[in-house]
Amino acid sequence: MTVTDDSKTAKSSTTVAQGIILVILSLCAILLPVVIRKIFNLTDSTDGAEFSGSVSALLSMALYVIEAFLYLICGWSMSQGKFKIASIYVIYGMLSRIFLSIITALILNQTIIDSLTKSSSYYWLYRIIEISITVIILLLPVTAIVRIIYHTENVKDNKNKVEQQFSFATKKINTDANIRVFRPEEVSDTSTHLTPPEGFSQVMPAVGITGTISVPSTLILEAVPEAKDIIATDNDLPIELQYVIPQISNATLWFTWQQLFRSEVVAAKFQDRWVKIPAKYYVFQIPREYYVSSIESPVWMTREAVPQENDLNIRGVKKSEMIKPENEI
């Protein structure tokens, strides 16, 4: 998505405001546990003797890691504009902290407040994780903001629309505002539909087959529109049968430009372009002998008829007309 010059100012002020809100929300999410810690007069002092080597130390470490993960998910959710989900993970993070305190209190026979004010001997590790996550959480939305401000967001990934980044952004294009949204250019058939299917390999010409079929030149120009100066649109173009026959078991023929115009018009930039010829343009021009297959019917078709199948009448069969159970095969 690009924005016209005259609307850049309005766009920038909007995105900056959104960015500021995003940063504030991120900080709130990050600082919540810190605030809680301050409320309960938490200190950074460690008490290794109580935790060291104990089950509670391991448990608390695990819960710290879980809490850290929850904040990480929270940060990621925020960067995606999923604020409700982010807030849920903040709450989960807080709950895990409280749960940890309760467990620790029970194990160490403390009050919950005491437990909250204690820290394990792994505190330094938790601190590192917390700082890392804080940085990541901060960086994620900042990256998104930078992308939006510099209008590179939708160029890089068209799926990441502004509406998805910011849930409070308008869902409709406001045509009254001085903002114009330029959609990506329609992708031409050349790049999407005119490439052979996966696994297709360029056919080799069949030996001993002569003759040509002719197809409308518009088909070729559809694939290579740049060639309109080279090919006359009102003429049919010949294609050699030796390239056609090896492909007729497919519903579509695929040729490179080079195969179609081997000796005449070989423009370097067209050589590797694929041209698709649907079946209806060539089927009736190919001798029927090439379509003959001599495959025998499967075994199940040769099985003996069952007597009851004569009574098989799906056109509204009545139960009363069905074969009586006594009539066994």
Binding site: P278, V283, E296, R303, E309, I314, G316, K319, M322, E328
Partner: protein, 200 residues
């Protein structure tokens, strides 16, 4: 694979309508549902999107005949034709006793027909089955439309096993019953041969 319930004296066969999107698989079942005597079929279950595209499958149970002391019941299923639902198609295809490959006769859909036919072969191969070993018929649907491919060409393209090909116009109830009847015959013959149903 057919299941035999000795207690209720019933044989259940699963028939699957396979084909590209919008080729008329669901229409086939709807036509059968509205044409058959109500005593001969159960409720039709259809899980579709608001745009009436099959989302998961359509299901129509019908009772066709008795063999010996057993009532043969056919459960007709359709698969979602859209490319992205291959997992569902594979699931629905599992245990099929017979397959109707519904092909759209329009020239413009020929590639989709072939892709779907290849997809059918691929999905069966994942169950270690070969389409040639499974009773199936080819239904050439939408024969009433202009710009359609000739039968001989569709046979060449989509009938690698030289099975019966039936022309149909599902919306007008042409060829729908014939298709089912033809497949049922082959399925029953196969059933009788494989399980010796007459001796049950």
């Amino acid at each position: 694979m057919a299941s035999i319930n000795y207690a209720s004296k019933e044989i259940y066969c699963k028939l699957v309508y396979y084909g590209p999107g919008l080729c008329g698989k669901t229409t086939n079942l709807q036509t059968l549902f509205s044409s058959l005597d109500s005593s001969e079929h159960g409720d039709m279950v259809s899980l579709a999107t608001p745009g009436e595209r099959t989302l998961y499958f359509d299901f129509l149970p019908i009772n066709v005949m008795t063999i010996g002391s057993f009532t043969v019941r056919f459960a007709l299923y359709t698969v979602p034709g859209q490319t992205q639902y291959n997992a569902t198609r594979k699931l629905v295809l599992r245990g099929a006793d017979g397959i109707v490959f519904v092909a759209d006769s329009q020239w413009d859909i020929m590639q989709e027909n072939q892709d779907s036919y290849n997809n059918l072969n691929l999905n069966l191969s994942e169950y270690r089955l070969n389409l040639r070993d499974v009773p199936h018929v080819l239904q050439l649907n939408k024969r009433d439309l202009p710009d359609i491919a000739p039968v001989w060409y569709m046979n060449y393209l989509l009938n690698a096993n030289n099975v019966p090909a039936i022309e149909s116009v599902a919306v007008a109830n042409q060829g729908v019953m014939e298709t089912l009847q033809t497949l049922c015959k082959f399925v029953i013959r196969d059933l009788v041969h494989r399980y010796n149903v007459g001796a049950l």
